[in-house]
Amino acid sequence: MALAETVLRKVHKLGLIPKAIKLLPVISFVMAIASIGWLLVLPLDGQYRNTYISENALMPFQVNSYFRESEWNIVRGYREEVKKFEYDPISSKAEVVEKWLNSFGYITTYHHNGVTNDTLYAILHAPRGDDTEAMVLAVPWYTSDKEHNEGGIALAAALARYFSKMSIWSKNIILVFPETSHYPLRSWVEAYHTSLDQTAGSIEAAIVLEYGKNGDHFDYYEMFYEGLNGQLPNLDLLNTANMIGFHESLPSSIQGTPSHEISKNTYFTRLRTLLRGIGSLTLSGLSRNTPGCEAFSGWQIQAFTIKAKGSNGPADVTQLGRVVDSTFRSVNNLLEKFHQSFFFYLLLSTRNFVSIGTYLPAAVLVSIAFALSSLGAVLNSGVKFDEYIGGLTTILSTFFGIELCGVVMAFSLPYITINAPKEFEDVTVFQILCQFVLINVAVSFSPLFNIKSKYKFNKAVKYGLIALSLFFISMLIMTLLIVHFALALIIGILAVPLTFIQPLTLLRYVNENKAQIKISLCLFVSNPFFVLFIAGSYLDAESGAVSLMRGLLTSWHELQCWTWFVVILGWFPAWLAIGLGVVFGEHEVDYSKAINKLKSS
């Protein structure tokens, strides 16, 4: 206590607090830089950990998988049949596969989702099992590359035959054949928990299998694991699969990094995997060509997608089957739910990770940056406290109005998109996107042209709005960061230019035009839809930002992914409030006072 007292007295004597208040914008910026710095430190040696199996019952690769030798001939046998019906309608393909599965003793049924082709699924009830738990092997007819999932279907058929020979299963096995792993798979998972008549207990783990036309051999396998809304599968499941792959001496990869690249395991490969991981977690659920694992998000299902890459490598098709088989054997051993290990982590390579405690400060720092700059906007704008109280009603009602608009848009725009005729869907999405970009341009650049408006916010309202919005973003990041770290961090970092606006408005009194251009640029760059436009065009060169925008608009309806709501009810209103504050804010000011203020600082 005495120490704190001494320090406080010293702080007071040296007048540090007013100095700190003046320096708030700088401190805030330093925090934002520190946040990025924190991320850059994570891939350094000593900052990350090696993966390990936390749940002893899993015992990965402790049993020999017999999916080998003559099973290879059988996989090839099935593949030729699958190849034959590549161009048939899905219903007739499903019929053939259904016949095979029935002959192994599986119970087959269809799920009608009313939108796409019916989804075939088959249940192998575990011999003398208690029929309360299940594992799912999902094999879409078309892979995420829109390729015919030839190897996948053949492998699934051969595996199904192999599984049915064993009596060791304690959990039921379900095979699902959706058209794609997007809406058809998600709606099946949802129906499984609401309306399906044939069920087999709660699903513990799920594997989505993708093996296109790679032939007998593939180079390496890639794993996808991002769930919806920041959910990830239990790290133990991924480790199990990776450990099995390692024992099979299969090269592996994650986050679109080829295996020869990832196996170098240098600082830069780890950093790249980390950043890509954050990126793909942010965007999960927004693309229609999804790997499919996110369809299982929720219901406490742990899921990942395994995909064979390349066609002439050292790895053999049955090896991928053995990964699936051994992973199922491991999950089969579980006497409890997946509860050990980590549910929140970032992978740096297939064998290295950082856990939530280590990476969380990055998002916390951004959040603090916004909180500080919000405080700075209040204290440094030269508005008296009484004036803020006076403007409080206007501030709150304006912000409330903006939020209300956000709510209306949040529900109306997806509704319009979903109900648009199929052939006009792209046009509708494009128009919505254009309108947002127009709003962005209008709000960002209108202050450059001294348009006289009847409505003016006084200074208190202007800075109050800016401060409130910045605080709002800070709180948004704070609430999101544990649930959806990646989204929180990305929003935080991309919205950082918003924190420059209040210091720049003060600078404007010195050099009006230059500062005004900077303000406009800051606003323009930090608009969510500008970011979306850039990101969308970069990710999908073909259809541009439209596909990402469509994903954003429809992902709640199709997959229950709430990224759209975070954007339209969190980021966008805050941006708009700051934008309106700048547009309608009072321009005529007491120059001398402001200049004095700047000089003194």
Binding site: M1, A2, R9, A57, Y66, F67, R68, E69, S70, E71, W72, N73, I74, R76, G77, Y78, E80, E81, S103, G105, I107, H125, A126, P127, R128, G129, D130, D131, T132, E133, R161, Y162, K165, M166, S167, H193, T194, S195, L196, D197, Q198, T199, G201, S202, E204, G298, W299, Q300, L334, L335, E336, K337, H339
Partner: protein, 603 residues
């Protein structure tokens, strides 16, 4: 077919009443190379003098039970149990391809262990006491966790079709039907051993000599049951016990195990059975279905042979019943006696039901030969299909969805739906919604009374009583009825969570008893059990809380202690005082000396 079975049952009962022990092994090949094997044992005690046991009458008289197990009799008498029913079942019954449950499902339980008893007592409290005494005693007896039966899972079924017949020894008493089940109890060899010990043959002779734990439990589905009833003719009472082991055996797997061992090793290349009509070479093979022309025997399945009849002096004590399609199946009886191997054919033209008695000593084996195993004796359609599944997304609430289908073309089916749910599922019956589906579509049910004739619901009491739900329902032909209801999951006390290894809380199966016109249970079927995940708190949290609390406490203590022991002064006073403190004096003294030194150096 049903009437025929009934007749057979009647015959069996009539025949049984003449002798104290008999046993039957029924074998029925099913499609997909499966086999239903059903072991039935019938045991009767000699007439005994039963008395009502209470505080006034504790000793009882010594009794002679003959074939009836001596170990069970006194337990039943001491707890005034008039009927005892035990079920040990594991697996999922595939009613789609196996049809009716063996013995009309009346001997099959749900997953885990199920127990119900009829207890004579003056009131329900005494009945319960006797019930707990009974379950605790039987727990050790059958190596099952029956001792975990407590108030929170015990129910008194209300509309049960098998209602107590009412053997009351003391006229002022009543009989109580009490029931409990343990759905997460695994069934294994340790349950079979005491089961065999109850038989007069002790598993050494007769059909029970086939029962080897490793083989019996390597099945697709299996169930053991014990039913003890007290039969009284005027004042003369005796115990009657039916024991059974029913199992569905996967013949293909049994043959493979016999030939290749237990490991699912890949088939050697030269033994692959490939489809010639498709590409077939040394690198590729489209597999054919499992062979249908198979030959197997009891030895293939059980790894043992049947060791003579149960009792040499009783030529009809051990019966074998076989149900086949005689056009495609041949059955040979083989006897290994005094190093001579005898073999004779028991099947014949249009002889689909075969009954044979084991009369001679020696190892008997029954060989089944078929040219096409897809042809079997007709599989009967059950009167009702039932399934139940868990719905819902979150950890705090969920729902049940039950699907009941009447497959019959013409007859509506009446049944009792009985369900007890653990107290931590807080049931909301107002959320009960019904839907029906027929060939034309799915419809909401406006008036539930069309399908639900009678209902009974007893809400749960936390930790004291399960919720208990019974519906008497009718479903018209060719109709599927869905009903759903919602529940909340409650938080338990920390010590009520099971230790680490737990994958959820098992909810016991619902029991559906199909009634005939005279309200007798003619068929019983159970849904599967369900695993319920309860919201589990992070148990490391208390430690964090303790640490945090201690830190806050110590901080608070520091402040208050300072305030209590120190004087509050202004800052100026402090600065003056601090100048006069000893340390300040030393420091200033030092400074002065340094100054002096400096001035000296300068000079």
């Amino acid at each position: 077919m049903i009437s025929w079975l009934k007749l057979l049952f009647l015959v069996a009962v009539v025949a049984a009443s003449e002798r104290y022990y008999n046993e039957t092994l029924s074998l029925k090949p099913l499609p997909n190379n499966n086999l239903l094997a059903s072991f039935q044992f019938h045991i009767e005690s000699q007439p005994i003098d039963l008395e009502y046991y209470d505080d006034h009458n504790k000793t009882g008289t010594a009794k002679h039970y003959s074939y009836f197990p001596r170990s069970l009799g006194p337990i039943l008498e001491a707890t005034n149990t008039r009927e005892l029913h035990l079920r040990f079942t594991q697996g999922w019954w595939d009613s789609g391809s196996w049809g009716l449950l063996p013995q009309q499902g009346l001997q099959s339980g749900g997953t885990g262990v199920e127990m119900w008893a009829v207890v004579e007592a003056p009131d329900s409290h005494t009945a319960k006491q006797n019930w707990f005494k009974l379950s605790k005693t039987l727990s050790g007896f059958f190596c099952a966790s029956l001792n975990f039966i407590d108030d929170s899972i015990t129910a008194f079924p209300r509309y049960a079709a098998s209602h107590p017949k009412g053997v009351v020894l003391n006229p002022s008493n009543h009989v109580y039907l009490i029931r409990a089940s343990l759905p997460s109890e695994p069934i294994c060899t340790e349950n079979l051993t005491p089961f065999l010990k109850l038989l007069p043959t002790r598993g050494k002779a007769g059909i029970s000599s086939l029962l080897d734990g490793h083989k019996v439990f390597d099945s697709l589905w299996h169930g053991m049951s014990i039913d003890i009833t007290t039969e009284c003719v005027s004042a003369q009472c005796h115990y009657q016990m039916e024991q059974s082991v029913n199992a569905i055996v996967d013949i293909t797997r049994s043959i493979r195990k016999k030939q290749e061992g237990g490991l699912p090793k890949p088939t050697p290349g030269d033994k692959l059975r490939c489809d010639d009509s498709k590409t077939f070479n040394i690198w590729q093979c489209f597999p054919l279905d499992e062979p249908t022309n198979v030959t197997w025997s009891l030895d293939t399945i059980y790894g043992r042979k049947l060791k003579g009849p149960a009792f040499i002096d009783d030529p009809e004590s051990t019966a074998i019943k076989i149900d086949i399609d005689s056009n495609h199946w041949d059955v040979d009886m083989k006897l290994d006696k005094d190093d001579a191997l005898l073999s004779w054919r028991v099947s014949g033209y249009e002889k689909d039901q075969i009954t044979e008695y084991i009369k001679e000593e020696g190892d008997h084996d029954i060989e089944f030969i078929t040219d096409d195993s897809t042809f079997t004796a007709p599989v009967e359609q059950p009167p009702l299909y039932a399934s139940r599944s868990l719905t819902g997304y979150s950890l705090d609430k969920g729902g049940f969805r039950t699907v009941l289908t009447n497959p019959s073309e013409s007859e509506s089916v009446e049944f009792i739906y009985f369900e007890t749910l653990p107290w931590f599922m807080r049931l909301y019956l107002n959320t009960l919604t019904m839907k029906v589906q027929n060939s034309t579509g799915t419809y909401e049910v406006e008036d539930e009374s069309v399908y639900v004739k009678n209902r009974y619901f007893q809400p749960a009491i936390d930790r004291k009583r399960p919720s208990h739900l019974e519906f008497v329902m009718t479903i018209p032909p060719q109709l599927t009825l869905f009903f759903t209801y919602q529940f909340d999951k409650s938080l338990l006390l920390y010590h009520e969570y099971p230790p680490d290894a737990n994958h959820g809380f098992a909810v016991e199966p619902a029991i559906i008893t199909v009634l005939d016109k005279s309200n007798h249970g003619v068929y019983e079927v159970r849904t599967t059990s369900v695993l319920l995940t309860l919201p589990t708190p992070d148990f490391s949290m208390p430690y964090n809380v303790i640490i945090l609390t201690c830190t806050v406490m110590s901080l608070a203590f520091g402040c208050i202690f300072n305030l209590l022991t120190k004087k509050v002064i202004t800052e100026n006073e402090l600065e003056k005082l601090s100048e006069q403190s000893k340390l300040a004096k030393i420091v200033s003294g030092l400074r002065a000396k340094v100054q002096r030194l400096k001035s000296l150096v300068r000079r």
